[in-house]
């Protein structure tokens, strides 16, 4: 690449005497650019969020509209329902509970299974790592709709795993050994055969799958920086592999582990498609409810906004807690 090609300049030296001292012109252009940048970022990155907060205090009017207001009715509705004090419901609080429950279980599951995988991956050659990364990034970037499509097929009651179970005789075996009843209790079977959807198991599995590549990518930097000589030193002192893992490796990645779990948790708070496809309506989340109220069947934009704010607050709260947790530890890496 030659620099010479695309540069056409005037002469240098004394003829430049009439040019403004660089300080001034660069300063003015620079400041203009700065101003534009700030305007753009504030407008498009922050204003939408501010709008959500502001509108959450708004008031729904008849029909599909709403108006500006400063009322707490939406938050009240979230906590105790619309008909308070006549009757109170914890429907929306329940949805938040489910949001957190799915998110916690799925993120933990993903992190726990991703950790050994990532560790093994970072011990491989740089080229192998690049290949894995391409694979993971490609699956990661695939839209949730496709992922859910795939799992839908796999768990489909008519053509997926349940059919496999029935065809292979597994269902009968389960019935004989009594495990079938256990599955029924867990909601994973109806009278004839196992069913995996809708169920919490299917939801959590899909969510976990969804964020698994993220977990690997987030754990990757820390694990790739692990000094192999530490583990080797432990081994020369008689530590078996599990002990090495427990006493040498895990402590040094404690912080990234916590950080990753938190990030995944926050990400999963907003999950939508997997929930609607795999979760029983009585176990739906706040994110689903937001969709319903903002663009779905029960239009109530301010309420949807309020729920969004609640989600945001929940996410922030967990992040702050995480910060405290990770900062407290001495000698943190």
């Amino acid at each position: 690449m030659t620099v010479a090609h695309d540069l056409a300049f005037g002469p240098t030296g004394p003829t430049r005497a009439t040019e403004l001292p660089t300080g001034v012109s660069a300063g003015r252009v620079g400041r203009a650019v700065q101003g534009v940048l700030w305007a753009v970022v504030l407008a498009f990155c922050l204003v939408p969020l501010i709008l959500v907060v502001v509108i959450s205090f708004g008031h729904k009017v008849e029909g599909a509209g709403w108006e500006w207001a400063l009322t707490l009715e939406n938050y009240q509705r979230f906590i105790v329902g619309a008909n308070w004090p006549a009757e109170s419901t914890s429907l929306y609080l329940g949805q938040l509970y489910w949001s957190m429950r799915y998110a916690v279980v799925a993120s933990l599951l993903a992190v726990v299974t991703a950790l050994p995988f990532t560790y093994l991956m970072t011990r491989q050659s740089r080229r192998a790592q690049a290949v894995w990364l391409v694979f993971l990034l490609a699956t990661l970037s695939l839209s949730e709709v496709f992922i859910v499509m795939g799992w839908d097929i796999i768990l489909s009651n008519n053509s997926g795993l349940p059919m496999l179970f029935a065809a292979s005789g597994l269902t009968d075996w389960l019935k004989e050994t009594g495990w079938f009843d256990v599955l029924r209790d867990w909601g994973l079977a109806n009278p004839r055969n196992v069913k995996f959807k809708p169920s919490e198991v299917a939801t959590v599995l899909t969510l976990s799958y969804l964020v698994w590549p993220y977990a690997v990518i987030l754990l990757y930097p820390a694990l790739s920086r692990l000094d192999p000589s530490l583990a080797e030193a432990a081994r020369t002192m008689g530590a078996r592999p599990w002990t090495v893992a427990r006493t040498v490796i895990l402590p040094s990645v404690r912080l990234p582990l916590i950080g990753t779990t938190l990030l995944l948790f926050v990400f999963l708070l907003g999950a939508y498609v997997a929930i609607t496809v795999f979760a029983d309506p009585s176990q739906h989340t706040t994110a689903v409810s937001v969709y319903e109220h903002v663009r779905g069947s029960t239009l109530n934009a301010p309420f949807g906004a309020a729920q969004s704010v609640i989600l945001l607050i929940t996410a922030t709260a967990f992040l702050v807690i995480g910060q405290r947790l990770t900062r407290k530890s001495p000698g943190a890496q």
Binding site: W38, L49, R126, S143, M149, P241, A301
Partner: protein, 267 residues
Amino acid sequence: MMLRVLGTIFMSLAAVVVALPIVIVCSAALNGGRTMFFPPQDSTLARFGEFFISEPVWTRALTNSVIVALGAATLSVLLAWPIAYRLWKTGSRASALLATFGSIPFAVPPIVFGVGLGFFWSFLGGLGTIPAGIISHAVLFLALPLVTISIGLQAIDRAHLDAAATMGATEAVTFRTIVLPQTLPYTISGFFFALVLSFNEFIVMFFVSASAFATVTLQIFNSLRNGYTPTMAVAAVAFITVSIVVFSAIARWGDLPRLMGADQSRT
């Protein structure tokens, strides 16, 4: 050595599980009928023709996806550069703050940001327009090129800037002849990250497009109620192919492990 074997088995198993739904979806594109069967029945490539050529719903959606993704990735990089550059050059609190604000959309749950953007555009009057979609995605994914370009800028030796100055280069010339060329791989990877993610994003797009237009993933999302069709699976094939090609290209010409945070000094 048992461990070594166990490790290999584990990783292979993981790879299979990860690939499974994708493989299934992709193979479903070969179905002859309207239902998604696995294994595919009446295998045919007709669905591909429908998706890319004959069905206007899909061809329009694909066009929209491409326009939005290309536009958003370009705009994202153009916005990220001055922010990253200023942060690198001055390291001032203001520039760090700007970078943080710019990254916020990516950090909050997409549904929240989508809702906000929906309100935002309805006030501004751009709701349901393609430019609104482009801007929305550009802002959403701003964090990506911001991070990759910052990584690239860190790698530049400040002495190079001094050297260029002593040879007569103004800041602008230095930027064009030294900084830009040396950070090219990072700019490109930031662009492609944003591109791929934009292709696949539908939640924010849902709120911003307001049923006025649809991208491929949005179209699929909207049709969820009615179930999937094999034609949709074609989209999956197309998208995963794009992703693999893009990331392979980044790996081939850039340093993917380093980009993802690996230690420089090892191996």
